[in-house]
């Protein structure tokens, strides 16, 4: 009997000590930034182009390989339908910033894309609201340029272009 009581007391002490260390989930939780090496694509990569839709990135379609004169799956499950060939920026004659991204359609089907740009100042503070979505038409195996202009002049230091499939 004393051993049983001792055991019960021990369990009770352990339980109460565990209960004291458990956080009480009350109040609004803090918004956190994802900074995990297992999520390398998380976060904003300034002065670059990102593709929002997974349907553009992970495509299981075939492409025609002229070397073998047949349709093949080059990277089944992990092939992107579009390629970003180049991106850059420059100043206009009125000192606003012009950014562009040259996009290439890797498939044999026409694709409609939409792009928008975020502008940041030199300290990576948002300088102006995101631009409106602009439609870009990509015929099969062709290239097209998404181009955008800022409204502000000197305050712009960085850009971030988002591409999604046309709605």
């Amino acid at each position: 009997m004393p051993r049983k009581l001792l055991l019960i007391a021990l369990v009770g002490i352990l339980g109460s000590s565990v209960g004291c260390t458990v956080d009480v989930p009350e109040g609004a939780g803090p918004a956190v930034r994802v900074n995990d090496p297992r999520a390398p694509q998380a976060g904003i990569r300034y002065d670059s182009v990102v593709v929002l839709d997974k349907s553009l990135e992970n495509w299981n379609g075939k492409v025609y390989d002229p070397a073998f004169a047949e349709y093949i799956w080059p990277n089944k499950g992990r092939m992107s339908r579009i390629a970003v060939e180049a991106t850059n920026s420059r100043r206009t004659p009125t000192d606003t910033l012009e950014v562009w991204a040259v996009l290439r359609n890797r498939t044999d089907q026409p694709i409609q894309l939409e792009g928008r740009t975020h502008f940041f100042d030199a300290d990576k503070t948002p300088a102006e609201g995101p631009t409106a979505w602009k439609r870009v038409f990509l015929p099969a195996q062709s290239v097209a340029t998404y181009r955008e202009l800022s409204t502000q002049v000197r305050g712009i230091g960085h850009y971030y272009i988002e591409i999604r499939e046309g709605r």
Binding site: T92, P93, T94, D95, T96, A132, L149, R167
Partner: protein, 212 residues
């Protein structure tokens, strides 16, 4: 006799049953009102001009105007511009509220220009004139900035056209509509077009919607 009576009753019942129409009320749950992004296509979509077209068009126009050195002269006094629908003609087959384009453009430009351009409120000319008259009649005092100044003349004014082409496939009922929208900034006095831009939209759908 009884057989005939039964047959007659059965016939009458059949006629009555056939004449009465069973009305089935679809008791489906409605959808509550929800906010949508005006810059993206909404749940109700057709082949006409919609919010995402207006947003995209006016945003692109504002940025393009601010990048044009003929309009926004670097180092020069800010030009005076009138942006309204007075000279924007709707020659399309759609019922379009032209003001929705010009009002949004002027607001965006005015905020973004930040003094590089000056915008004249000709659509509020009556309001300005009324206050000037009251000041001249000494009914009201001058404002804190001193006596009322003369309304300014414009340097550039917006003009343009909205045009469309419609086509329908009679077999399938599919409709297609092509919109061509032209905007121009005209220089006062010379009539020179200092800036112009076109916007083309082609849409097709089987089920169209009603625009008002």
């Amino acid at each position: 006799m009884l057989k005939h009576d039964l047959a007659a009753i059965a016939l009458m019942l059949g006629i009555v049953a056939g004449c009465t129409e069973t009305v089935r009320i679809k008791e489906s749950r409605g959808r509550p009102t929800q906010y949508e992004d005006p810059g993206s296509p909404g749940r109700v979509r057709g082949v006409g001009l919609e919010s995402q077209d207006v947003v995209s068009m006016t945003d692109a126009m504002a940025r393009d105007i601010l990048a044009n050195p003929k309009v926004v002269g670097v180092g020069k006094a800010p030009a005076r511009v009138v942006i309204d629908a007075e000279y924007l003609k709707n020659e399309s087959s759609s019922v379009n509220n032209k003001n929705i384009l010009t009002e949004r453009l002027r607001t965006d430009l005015n905020r973004a220009a930040d003094g590089r351009l000056v915008f004249l409120a000709r659509h509020h000319a009556e309001m300005v004139e009324q206050e000037s008259d009251l000041e001249k009649q000494e009914v009201v005092t001058p404002g804190t900035k001193g006596p009322t100044q003369q309304p300014r003349g414009w340097d550039y004014r917006l003009g343009g056209k909205i045009m469309s082409l419609d086509s329908t496939n009679r077999a399938t009922g599919e409709k297609a509509k092509y919109h061509l929208i032209i905007f121009e900034l005209i220089e006062r006095g010379t009539g020179i077009i200092v800036w112009s831009q076109k916007y083309e939209i082609l849409k097709s759908a089987i089920d169209d919607v009603v625009y008002q």
